[in-house]
Structures are given as C-alpha cells and as structure tokens.
C-alpha cells in the first residue's frame, strides 16, 4: 500500500516539525494532534511510516528486538538481523485489553495444548509509533493501561496463568477533535508535544492541498517518484540529526531560559522543562546548529508547553495565545541580556 508522501503535505508546519522531532529523539514523548476534521491529521501519521528510516530487528521478533540478547525468552525469533520499516501501529477505539497487552494464544492452546503468549499491539509498537485516532474518546481503562506502559517502557502481563514482561517503548501519537471531548490532564501530560491544526485559511494553500491529493490518486507511482528525492533528503537529515544529537551543546543561558518560561507560565511539574529542552535540542540537531539557542526554544515552546497549562475557563484566547504572550514577555526585552551574558 502506498501512503501519501510526508513531504508532499501542504502547510501544517508545526505538526510536521513535531513529528520529525520525535523521530530524531523518541524520548521527547508522544505527539498530540488536536484539530478539525479533514486537516490531514491521519494523513500525516500514516505518512510517517513511509518517511522513517529503517531499523535493524531480529528476524521474526514480535517485539522488534534490536539484538539477540534483547529478545524475550518467550519469543521464537530467528537469529539474524534484518532491516525493517519503523512500525507505526494503529490502536483502534474500543479495542479490548487483550489485544493491547497481548494474551494467551488461543490457537496454540487449542491446537497443541501449549500455554503460549500472543503478543498484542504494545509489542508490535515497540521501537516505533503507536497511533490512536480520536484519542479523547478512548475508554478509561485502556488509557490507564497505556499511561502505565508509556511511563515504564515495559509491558507486564499477569493473566490467564501467564507471567510475561517485554519492552514496550513507543512514541504515542494521538489525534482528536476537541469538540468531541476533553482529554484527562494525566494523559495530556504524557504527550511530549501537542499541536493544534486547523484548516488552512489561505485559498491558494487549500487549492494546493486538493491538487496534490488529486494528482496522487490519479497516478500514485508517478507522484511517489516525483517526491522521492525530497523524501530521501528529509530521511537523510533525520538520520544525520539522530547521530548529531549527543553533540549538541546546551549553554546555561538556554537552560535558564527554559526554566524562566516554565515558571512564568506556571506549568505543573518539571516535565515541561525537560520536554522543552529535548525538543529544542532535537531541533538544533536537525538544523545542524551545534548548540541549543533561544530561537530553538522559541520554535518548540508552544508545542511543548501549551497542553501543560492549568485550564482557565475565562481565558477564551486559548493556551497557544498564552504561550505566545509569555514568550514575548519573558524573551521580549531581556533577550539580548540572556544571550549576551
């Protein structure tokens, strides 16, 4: 199945930036995309699978283990390493707990009388992406389970006489329409970055979206070929940025700026600062900057912080505007001082 090329998505720069950053540094956490219908949320997530670089996995490993010693003992995987696409796994609404965590393999139990473990979606998403469309409508018990696993990076199954644990480190990508329901603050906080998308308001941009889509439907192979060079270039940049990530120098001024901004916004906990810093560092690596500077912080601040603010029912401007306002206040005039020192 050919997916729409990531680079051919018109506009939605913040969403694209957020996804690229998590591809560079998965420890940023997930991405939450909130916005109207028909703005390319699902297209972007599905396009990720065509963009991401391949990973090395042990052949036949259900948990996408990267080396032989990482393969859990319950798996019957091969011994050779092969390259495979980065997994992007869909978690549908109304999914049962069994399907998410994995459960007793009924097939083996019935056919051979063996007690075996059938891995679930969490195993398949290991080292990749887990995508939840309409995440705000997800049932609470599944949310709790995901929170726990996303936090610990490990899936523990204790049921039906099985006692299994396996690594489950994935980037959680959620999308939804805020008109249909809010997300619990606990889950909000687990997403590293949050992005608000809207329909493009510029007519030419809208026309361009439709034109590209139409072109894609009419001639898939041709369209893919046309965008192949750009896809490859972006992929190469991501790979290079991944390698350059540890070399990014973080000056004290930058750290201080992060802290100042978070205090001014009154975001809860320290997760905000950490994510802000990680995202800024990934951006610096992506741009080949060498060190993390204020412009990087500014570019990712809205994505990293807007969902961590305390809700204020009277502020109708929304949290994006609040972050922008604070950015101006904090970095407005003392900017020169902070950089110059």
């Amino acid at each position: 199945m050919t997916v729409f090329p990531f680079t051919a998505i018109v506009g939605q720069d913040e969403m694209k930036q957020a996804m690229i950053l998590t591809a560079i540094d998965p420890s940023i956490g997930g991405v939450l995309v909130f916005g109207d219908r028909g703005t390319g949320k699902s297209t972007a997530v599905r396009a990720l699978s065509g963009l991401l670089p391949q990973i090395q996995v042990v052949k036949g490993s259900a948990t996408n283990a990267c080396a032989l010693e990482e393969v859990p003992e319950w798996e019957s995987a091969g011994t050779e390493l092969v390259s495979a696409p980065t997994p992007v796994v869909d978690l549908p609404l109304g999914v049962t707990e069994d399907r998410v965590t994995g459960s007793l393999d009924i097939e083996k139990a019935l056919a051979r009388g063996e007690k075996a473990f059938e891995p679930g979606l969490l195993a398949r998403a290991n080292r990749g992406y887990l995508y939840i469309d309409e995440v705000n409508l997800l049932e609470d018990h599944i949310v709790d389970l995901l929170l726990d696993v996303a936090q610990s990076g490990e899936n523990v199954v204790e049921r039906e006489g099985l006692s299994i644990r396996h690594p489950a480190r994935f980037v959680l990508v959620g999308s939804g329409n805020p008109e249909e329901g809010e997300l619990r603050p606990q889950l909000l906080d687990r997403f590293g970055l949050s992005v608000e998308v809207g329909s493009p308001t510029d007519i030419d941009e809208r026309v361009e979206v439709i034109r590209r889509r139409d072109e894609f439907e009419n001639d898939r192979a041709g369209f893919m070929a046309k965008w192949d060079a750009e896809q490859a270039a972006l992929r190469a940049r991501i790979v290079a940025a991944k390698a350059a990530l540890p070399d990014q120098h973080t000056p004290d001024e930058t750290l201080k700026a992060c802290a100042e901004l978070c205090i001014a916004l009154g975001s809860d906990g320290l997760r905000g600062e950490l994510t802000l810093l990680r995202a800024a560092r990934a951006l610096a690596a992506f741009e080949g900057a060498g060190s993390v500077r204020l412009p990087h912080i500014k570019a990712v601040a809205a994505s990293a912080l807007r969902h961590r603010l305390r809700r204020d029912p009277l502020d109708e401007a929304g949290s994006s505007a609040r972050v922008a306002r604070m950015l101006d206040q904090v970095f407005g005039e003392p900017k020169i001082a902070a950089v110059g020192r």
């Binding site: 609404l93 409508l137 809207g198």
Partner: protein
C-alpha cells in the same frame, strides 16, 4: 413527477457505481420504508454487498480465529473478516454507531482498499446523527426523510461501466470548488476533494473527457451544499469556521470570474437552492450538527462504578469482551445430550455446540451527581440555605434507589466554597451542613466555576454530574473578587456558556419573589430548564428538582 432530491440521490448512486472506493460512500438519512427500499434497489453492485450492524464485533470485521468451529473441528479454523476484501458496506441504524466502530470504519475507508460505506441513518431527531468522523469521509450526504412514495420512481441498479478514462479538470475549476467550499463554511478539506472527484465522475457518466460547468453544479449540489454551515452571502458578517473566507474568496475570485463567465455565481446559486431554509435558525440556536456535544445517537456508554444489575443471559458468541454464563449454557445444552451422543458416539463428555453458548449481560447505570450551587449572599441567605440543605437531605434519603450523589457549593462574599464534597452519606451531610455561614455579595461566577471544576473531576470518575443553581439575584462580584456588577455578570455568562458547551445538564431555580428575566436568560445560556420557585420549601424544591431531572 419525481422529487428533485430523489433525482439527486439516483445520480449520486450512479456516480458511486463508477468509483465506489474513490468516493467513500453515501450517507442516506431516511427512515426505513418504501422510499428507502426503492433507493436500495438502485444500489450499484460492482462490489459485494456486506451488511454491518452497530454492535459488530472485531472478529467479524477483521476476521480471526473461529472459536466455535475450532472447538468442533479440533484444529484451527480461521474466518475472514468483512473488511478483508473491498466491499460495499451497508450500515443500517447508522445513527447508533458507537465511536469505536466509527473509528474502525474510518480507518478502513482511509486505507484505500476500495471500501464503500452506505450509511443508512434512521435518526428521528436532528441530534441523532452519523458520527461526524464517518460523515466527513463519505462523499454524498442525502436527506430523503421528507419524501413520500409518490415522489420516487422505479429505478434499476446502474450497470458497472467498463474501465474508463478519468475526465480532466483544469486548475481553475479546482479552484472554484475550493473557493465555494470556503464560502459555504465547509472547513474540512475532504469536501472539495470529494466534490472534484464527483465532478470528474459526472463528466465520465455523460461521456465527456473534460469537466464542464454542469459537472461542477452537480458536484456542488451533491457534495458541498449538504455540508454548508453558513449561507454564502452571510459569510461576510458571520464568522464561519475558516476565518476569512468571505473576503479572501471575493478578492481572489474576481479575476477568475471575468474569464470563466462567473461560474462562482452559478455554483453559489445551485448551492443556495439546496440549503435548508432553517439553516440560519439552526446555527443561531447552536443545535446544528457540528455543535453537538460528545454524545452520539448511540447514547453514552454507562460507565457505572458498580457492575450493575444482571440481566437475563442471551445466546451469543464469545468474542473476548463478554463472559459466558456457564449455568445457562449447560442448561441450554442439556436437552440435546442424548441426541448428540447418538450422532457422534466417539466423543465423550458433554456435547456443547456454538448455539448453546449463553453470555452474561449487565445493565450498568452510571451514578448521577447533583451539584447544588447555592447563593448564600444577602438577607435571604439563611432561609435559602436552609431550604437547600433540606432538599439535599431529602434527595439523599432516596439516593440509594436513584443512585444519586450530592455535592453542595455555596457562594457568598467574594468567593465560592465547596461545602459538601460529593457524597451519598446522609450522616456526613448532616454534620457538614449543620453550620453554614451566609451574607455578603453574590459572586455567582465563582460558584459556577467551582461547580464546573467539580463536574470535570467527577466526570473522570464515572459520575454524571448535573448542576443545580439556586439563587434569587444578580451576580455582583466578578471572578477576581472585585465588586463590579458588569464584569460579574459577563463572567457568570461566560462560565454558563462553558458549562452549556460541555454538555453538562443544568437547572436554574429562581427563589426570588418575582421571577427574573436575567436568570431565565442564564438558564437559556446553560441550556437547561428554568424553575421559578418563590418561597420554596425543602419538599417542594426536592420534588421540583426530581421532576425537572427525570422527564
């Protein structure tokens, strides 16, 4: 003489026959009856037709292990799911589609496997509708609910056409459709895309190789007009979802208009003729389809914090989400044992077949939380508080049967206070309510805010909160504690709007001697009933609240 809506429906189905996968499908709003039967007879059939139902299980959709067949055969038997092959999916009672199924079907439609969904929406109220996530992915929206049998004509299913060359649309025409979508307030970009495809297919249907004006008009009527959220000429003064459509649309379309002979106006005319006359009224009252809260026609799932009342078990399949009722299963299998043993004498033990399996059912009731927001200001505070306390105790007394929890928020002076956290304990309530202070200003906004916060918290715990506001006067303390009547009232109105927008059920009880127009307005903002109850005593208050909540 057939109705224009009927002709459009037939056209939509013919287009669908050309390219079922590309157009996604059709949303037909029509009660079951002869009109619908006639239309379904005209359903194109280039694909296999499969019927879904709102409670369809994952195994049926995606395929999987056929548990019962496996048990019988002794080796693994797999079954294919409905979504495995491109199919025309018929979804009756589409208005009751739960969000989970809507999500799965949306994913299936996104995958470009060639699925085509025919959603048969039998909703009676405007509130009951196909989930928007699904509606957005279907090209055609048809409303045939007002048609009678005499408006229709016998039709035959269109014959699938041989492979064809897709008609070309030039960039100007594409721009026309995008512009028009913006002017009609359609923010989703899927709409102009579907319109373009519909225009192309319509050209093919008419034997043209290039899209022309008639195709654009047809696409407008079938795809764009049913999705309109604002009248095109009103676009300048009402702010529709994409902020500046009116202005930019006009500016940019002007040069194009000159060259192509004002197609924009022709298309607009076509769209305007299709728009429901009450569109503005619907938008103004805020009950338009896009302003609906989280509930879909399926009724919110009861998330009780107790397991609920057991219902009689019924035959069913074990799909991993339900539990077997062992006794009932054995009882169902018992009469057949002799027969079955004769049929397959080699097997020992009990003979249990798929049809014997009975699954447990529970009816879960979600608990309701009544949040009383009581005005404790001014002179009448004491009497009102006493009444509220009495009503709370009365309601609590019957709480066990009604599964109600109560909470009490009082507001006076400069702020609001949660006087009684959500509880069902009568003893605790009596102790807490024994001494309550009164007097001072009316910080209504603060009271509503406390209630809103509480409602948010308790919703997460599976309760269904209801806000009951007891007051006799106007707000005169703003949210930040300043005595500014104007700000206080706008704050209160804003919060009321937030509560209304979140779909929290609310009720305003006016205890002043003379009913106040302002409170009536507030009740309207809250989207709840307004009860003028001068000199209410606890019993009458309790009864009135019960009556207003249980229609």
């Amino acid at each position: 003489m057939t109705h224009p809506a009927w002709d459009r429906a037939i056209l939509a189905l013919s287009l669908l026959a050309l390219d079922p996968g590309g157009l996604g499908g059709v949303w037909i709003r029509c009660r079951a009856g002869p009109v619908r039967d006639r239309l379904l007879a005209a359903l194109p059939s280039p694909l296999a037709q499969r019927r879904l139902h709102p409670d369809i299980s994952d195994t049926q959709l995606y395929g999987g292990l056929d548990l019962t067949a496996t048990m019988q055969a002794g080796h693994v038997v797999r079954q294919d799911g409905i979504l495995a092959k491109a199919a025309m999916l018929l979804l009756p009672m589409a208005e009751r589609t739960p969000p989970g199924l809507a999500g799965r079907l949306a994913t299936a439609l996104d995958e470009d496997k060639g699925h085509c969904l025919v959603a048969l929406d039998e909703g009676a109220d405007p509130e009951e509708q196909l989930p928007p996530a699904l509606a957005d992915r279907l090209a055609f929206h048809l409303d045939l609910s007002d048609l009678g049998h005499h408006d229709t004509a016998e039709v035959t299913a269109p014959i699938p056409v041989e492979p064809f060359e897709m008609a070309k649309a030039d960039p100007d025409q594409l721009k026309e459709l995008v512009l028009l979508a913006a002017r009609l307030g359609v923010s989703s970009l899927r709409a102009p895309l579907f319109a373009l495809r519909a225009a192309q297919r319509n050209a093919v249907l008419n034997g043209r190789t290039k899209v022309d004006q008639a195709d654009l008009v047809a696409a407008t009527e079938l795809v764009l007009a049913p999705r309109a959220t604002c009248l095109p000429d009103a676009a300048e003064d009402t702010p529709p979802p994409p902020p500046p459509p009116g202005d930019t649309a006009q500016d940019q379309s002007d040069p194009g208009d000159v060259e192509t002979g004002l197609p924009q106006e022709i298309l607009l005319e076509a769209a305007r003729a299709m728009l429901p006359p009450d569109l503005l009224a619907r938008l103004a009252s805020g009950s338009g389809s896009r302003n609906r809260g989280g509930s879909s026609g399926s009724g919110s799932k009861k998330r009780g914090n107790r397991r609920g009342r057991p219902l009689p078990s019924r035959p069913g399949r074990l799909d991993g989400t339900n539990r077997i009722d062992l006794i009932a299963t054995l009882r169902a299998a018992a009469p057949w044992q002799t027969l079955r043993r004769q049929q397959s004498p080699r097997r020992s033990g009990l003979h249990i077949r798929a049809g014997d399996i009975r699954v447990r059912q529970y009816q879960e009731m979600s608990d309701r939380l009544l949040i009383f927001v009581v005005d404790a200001s001014g002179s009448a505070a004491m009497a009102r508080l006493a009444e509220a306390k009495g009503a709370v105790e009365l309601l609590l007394a019957e709480a066990y049967a009604r599964r109600d929890h109560v909470a009490l928020v009082g507001f006076r002076g400069e702020s609001a206070e949660l006087l009684l956290p959500p509880t069902r304990s009568l003893v605790q309530t009596k102790r807490r309510l024994a001494a309550l202070p009164g007097g001072g200003g009316t910080p209504m906004a603060a009271g509503l805010k406390t209630a809103l916060d509480l409602a948010g918290q308790t919703r997460g715990r599976g309760l269904t909160p209801t806000v009951i506001l007891l007051t006799d006067g106007r707000a005169n303390i703003a949210l930040d504690g300043t005595a500014n009547r104007e700000r206080a009232q706008s704050d209160a109105a804003k919060l009321a709007r937030t509560i209304g927008a979140q779909g929290l059920p609310a009720l305003v009880v006016d205890t002043s001697a003379r009913p106040q127009a302002q409170l009536k307005e507030l009740a309207h903002t809250l989207n709840g009933p307004y009860l003028p109850l001068p000199r209410a005593d606890a019993t009458r208050l309790g009864a009135a609240v019960s009556a207003a909540l249980d229609p």
